[in-house]
């Protein structure tokens, strides 16, 4: 299968990789590890997830490796075809600087940081055999075209709206085309049995995260949101097999269940919604927790939300499995690249009830227009229901930390 987006006007390889920039990238990661370590009484199982994040870039491929962007690619298709999957969305602000040698200052930092990973030869991105990029926002679409100069790229076409009645057949066909592309890379086609096995594996991840989250709703201090995000993202951003992660997550669940708080927490409970926060850019999570709030739920495509929904079906045909994957990964997505934001608003309203949140933080990543464009309606809907909400717009850089802290503290004072 020929990769899409093969460009007749190929660019020469860019040279943004340098020891100074690498040192900065490393520093930012180390700094975030250091801040995670400050939490008193962390579960011992976190050490596994930290290690997994730490070595994510350096793990040599054990199988054909497929990199992907966004949360709309069903990784089960890769696992079922005998490949290893790694999500390449990047949150390192030093990598943004590397990406800026090609993309302008007015492009979203997530796109630039992700591109930056392709400019260094020792990254998880550079070790990929092929890439899968869903045609979500403008930044990702054009990034796909740029990345096609580095690797074979499959661009996953998406419908503009999420009406399954109109688009189910087209999306299923697109997933079949994707399965064929993956088979071309791994040399092995997914079968009904292997796809079911892969879905069972990610289903276990969903189940464990649901159970961990249920404990956190009762006892938020059992696991900080930062640790939970690190745990979740160590399964997304690392190419290593999921089974070792599942074993560690089982241990984590046992530990958080055993946690007994000294007294009932009076800390405000927040629901986090908005743009992706990717390791090591945990700036806003650090702030929220340092200001004394518990982040009890999120709708982020890099948070718990990203792995919460299992793909389920009672039917057993290959097509039925593809339909189940499509309905979870695409028709159920909260991504603002689709024409309506109803899925996200419903999700926020539901989670607010379930997690008993006191307020909502709506995080906009500066220069990410789709999320920004959704802010107004979300804010109105929540305010009409007398539900406190605050918009926080920021980027990867740390220079506005203190300004954000004032805003957050003042918001928490009003809850």
């Amino acid at each position: 299968m020929k990769p899409s987006g093969q460009n007749p006007y190929r660019l020469p390889p860019a040279q943004a990789d340098n020891p100074g920039n690498r040192k900065k990238q490393q520093f930012l990661e180390d700094e975030q590890f250091r801040r995670l370590a400050e939490t008193p009484g962390r579960p011992a199982a976190m050490a596994f997830f930290e290690e997994r994040l730490r070595r994510a870039a350096a793990v040599p491929p054990a199988k054909p490796r497929l990199g992907l962007l966004c949360n709309l690619v069903p990784v089960e298709l890769i696992l079922a075809a005998g490949g290893e999957a790694v999500r390449l969305d990047c949150g390192n602000s030093a990598s943004v600087m590397a990406g800026e040698e090609i993309l302008s200052g007015d492009v979203c930092p997530l796109a630039k940081a992700t591109l930056g990973q392709f400019l260094r030869p020792d990254s998880a991105a550079s070790a990929c055999d092929a890439l899968i990029v869903p045609a979500t926002c403008d930044a990702k679409r054009k990034l796909a075209e740029l990345l096609a100069d580095y690797k074979p790229v499959f661009i996953l076409s998406l419908p503009a709206d999420k009406d399954p009645d109109r688009h189910a057949a087209a999306v299923a066909a697109e997933l079949r085309r994707l399965a064929a592309f993956i088979a071309g890379v791994t040399g092995r086609a997914a079968t009904r049995a292997s796809l079911r096995a892969a879905m069972a594996l990610t289903g276990r991840r969903s189940d464990l995260l649901r159970r961990i989250q249920a404990v956190r709703w009762e006892k938020p201090r059992a696991l900080t949101a930062r640790d939970l995000f690190a745990c979740v993202q160590s399964s997304l951003l690392s190419p290593e097999p999921l089974d070792t992660w599942l074993e560690a997550a089982e241990r984590l669940l046992v530990e958080v269940e055993a946690y007994t708080p000294e007294r009932r927490s009076l800390r405000p409970r927040l629901l986090l919604t908005g743009a992706p926060m990717v390791w090591p850019n945990f700036k806003v999570l650090n702030l929220l927790e340092e200001c004394g709030a518990d982040v009890v739920a999120d709708t982020l495509c890099t948070g718990v939300e990203s792995c919460l929904e299992p793909a389920v079906t009672d039917e057993t045909s290959f097509d039925a499995l593809l339909r189940a994957l499509a309905s979870r990964s695409i028709f159920g997505a909260i991504c603002p690249c689709f024409t309506t934001q109803t899925t996200r608003i419903n999700r926020v309203l539901d989670l607010r009830e379930q997690a008993k949140a006191d307020g909502v933080i709506n995080y906009s990543l500066r220069l990410c227009q789709p999320f920004d464009l959704e802010s107004y309606r979300l804010e109105r809907v929540l305010k009409d229901r007398r539900f406190p909400v605050m918009n926080l717009r920021t980027d990867y850089s740390l220079e506005d930390t203190e300004q954000l802290r004032v805003r957050l503290e003042a918001f928490l004072e009003t809850l």
Binding site: R393, T394, E399, D400, E402, Q403, V406, R407, E409, A410, E413, T414
Partner: protein, 265 residues
Amino acid sequence: MKITAGLDIGSTTTKAVLFDGERALASIVMPNAALPSDSARLVFDAALLAAGLDKGQVDAVATTGYGRRLAGFGDLVITEIKACALGAVHTGCPGGPIHTLLDLGGQDTKVIAIGDLGEVEDFAMNDKCAAGTGRFLEMLARKLEMDLPAFIEAALRSTVQIHMNSTCAVFAESEVVSLLARNVAKDDIAAAAHQAIADRIGSMVRRVGQREVIAFVGGGALNRALARTVEESLNKKVHIPDSPQTIVALGAAIAAFRKEEKLGL
């Protein structure tokens, strides 16, 4: 009788107020030292001296402002948003209860919506840069080779309407250079700079919701040209209390007092 102190360690100046439960015993404003802890100590000592009090007579100290956690002493930390609301509500306004509060400081601008019980209902703040803040006016004054009082007088004298696009302190400088090169009068440039800020404040107020009475505090409220353009932009009178620059410090002192008296915040 209990006495509390409020220290507002801002980006440009540090303010201290000593409070006895009714009124301010001393209100001091000082330009910042390099370290917030030095500023806090100096301004606190100056306030004690002005009130003729001894450190031991102060029951509690609350700190607020950007340096609120850097003072090195203090018993309570609150945000300047809450402190501003407390101070303004306490000071009051002859026209009735305050519902919209503008605070223009050296590095940020805030609009606070105050509920019927004097509580913070909502607020808006400028982003991380100095766009639309006191610092912006200071920089432009320097570009026009004036000190701030002369810059304000110039703006008040202006009769010709011109438009300035930028509220970014960096880009506005180059805009001023090109205006000067076109022989635009300095008075009119000064007036346009004030308008640029007033417009920004106006749109922030409308975002939070404009409800009367509107009060204007912070160092920016001392600027007569700015007060006038803000009123134009809001199409409403704004109330400026007697010492607008120490309202936030007063609010911090009130917060400390309430905490001491277990009145609840």
